[in-house]
Symmetry: C2
Subunit: 264 residues, 2 copies
């Protein structure tokens, strides 16, 4: 396993693999690696000749500076996890190498970026998409691996890659959960013990609702989930929407596969 800290070096190495005919897999992360990430790496190891794990806490996707500074940084442990998962390259660029002081270019995916979490965190998805475009251009990835935990993010990146004709195929990966059912996430780190309990509760409420879809209509399912969510102590529902799995439009009677998206 090789650790690369320099952007030009990463591009040079990756391009050599392209010339070699190797298939390249990219697992973009912000570090603080956990079992969810390990499952992405494992999937790439299975599919690709070469697996690159990038570790970069992207300042552009934080709305509040404090959150950026507080984001967990566990680089030594991360490198160890990459090694255990037989990663070929760990790419750890510096902020200065990633973004020039005078950075001016942004990539936006209209509509998709403005709903759900985008409504509450303006420029959040723009920050993510822009850095992903850069990482694609640094890694020449044939496949990029994204967890379905961040479903809106996955959909936005999938749309961007298609619209801009990136050679990179976006591979959605199943959510890895704690025993409680809560999705494993580096961001759970921000939660107090009470908030963590509440999060497990949300996860349970949604799981229960998933059975209702077969027998009840969408509106009934939505309202009954909302009723339960509103009972969570100190909770304020930002949104609770049942959407088409394919394009995140509002689900209707004829929608074949839905996603229930909730933020509290």
């Amino acid at each position: 396993m090789r650790i690369i800290k320099n952007v030009l070096q990463m591009q040079k190495v990756a391009l050599n693999h392209v010339k070699n005919g190797d298939k390249i897999g990219l697992v973009p992360t912000m570090g603080a690696l956990h079992e969810g990430h390990s499952s992405l790496i494992a999937k790439s190891k299975k599919n690709d000749d070469i697996t690159i794990v990038s570790i970069f806490v992207n300042p552009m996707q934080f709305v509040v500076d404090e959150d950026y500074l507080k984001y967990p940084r566990t680089i030594e442990k991360d490198v160890e996890i990459c090694r255990k998962n037989h990663t070929d390259y760990v790419f750890v660029p510096t902020v200065n190498d990633m973004f020039s002081v005078n950075h001016k270019t942004f990539v936006e995916v209209k509509t998709l970026q403005d709903i759900l979490c985008g409504k509450f965190r303006p420029s959040y998805f723009r920050g993510i998409v822009t850095v992903v475009v850069k990482l694609f251009n640094m890694s020449y990835a044939d496949r990029g691996y994204f967890g379905m935990k961040d479903f809106q993010q996955f959909k936005i990146i999938e749309k961007m890659a298609k619209d801009l004709n990136f050679r990179t195929k976006i591979i959605p990966c199943p959510i890895v959960r704690e025993r409680s059912g809560l999705a494993i996430s580096s961001e759970n780190y921000y939660l107090s013990i009470e908030e963590n309990k509440a999060s497990e509760n949300i996860s349970r409420i949604l799981k229960e609702a998933s059975k209702d879809f077969k027998v009840k209509d969408l509106n009934f399912v939505k309202e009954s989930v909302l009723d339960k969510l509103k009972k969570i102590p100190d909770g304020k529902v930002d949104y609770a929407e049942i959407l088409d799995f394919n394009d995140l439009s509002f689900a209707g009677k004829n929608t074949r596969k839905v996603v229930f998206a909730v933020a509290i």
Copy 2:
């Protein structure tokens, strides 16, 4: 010379050249080729192993539908010019293949896109930059050739390529002019005989001013040019600015190289 009409086909062919170790040059055009384009193709033929000329009238960069429909289309003549200049591939994608009905992704270069022509044609540069990103992803170009005639466009694309880490190096190419001094441009096609005369006049006024820079201060040069421009019959000055050649900021005493940008 091979003509390619399909996006996936273009990507496949270009990727094979990358694997071969060939250096790829891209000359992106909207067709209606003239001597300016020929000079770009010649430059690529000199620098690169493979020269791709793309011909695509980009609907996204027209503010008025009518202009899009009226834009000169001379594909047979264009192909002939490409052949004469020893182009390797002419890439002529269809609109439907370039843009899905549901296209949502846009690339923006803040600040640079909002000044000069960007002020008067909102979303114009966004349309150009977005299609250029797509063409880079279709051609895997090592070098992209852009005429300095469209100076703001060249600067914006240069900035985008750097900010997003495209492997494509942006090569600026000298303006090719008619005998009158007017830059050769497919868009001159829109001009009436009177407007064409006026354009030649603008070109002459700027050429005269270029001598003044050595002896007069910037403000004097600007004002004396403005005086002359205002005398052009039926002319309305949109802007006349002396800018830093490097970043299009306003030029000052210490600016070493300037560009005088005028729109009427």
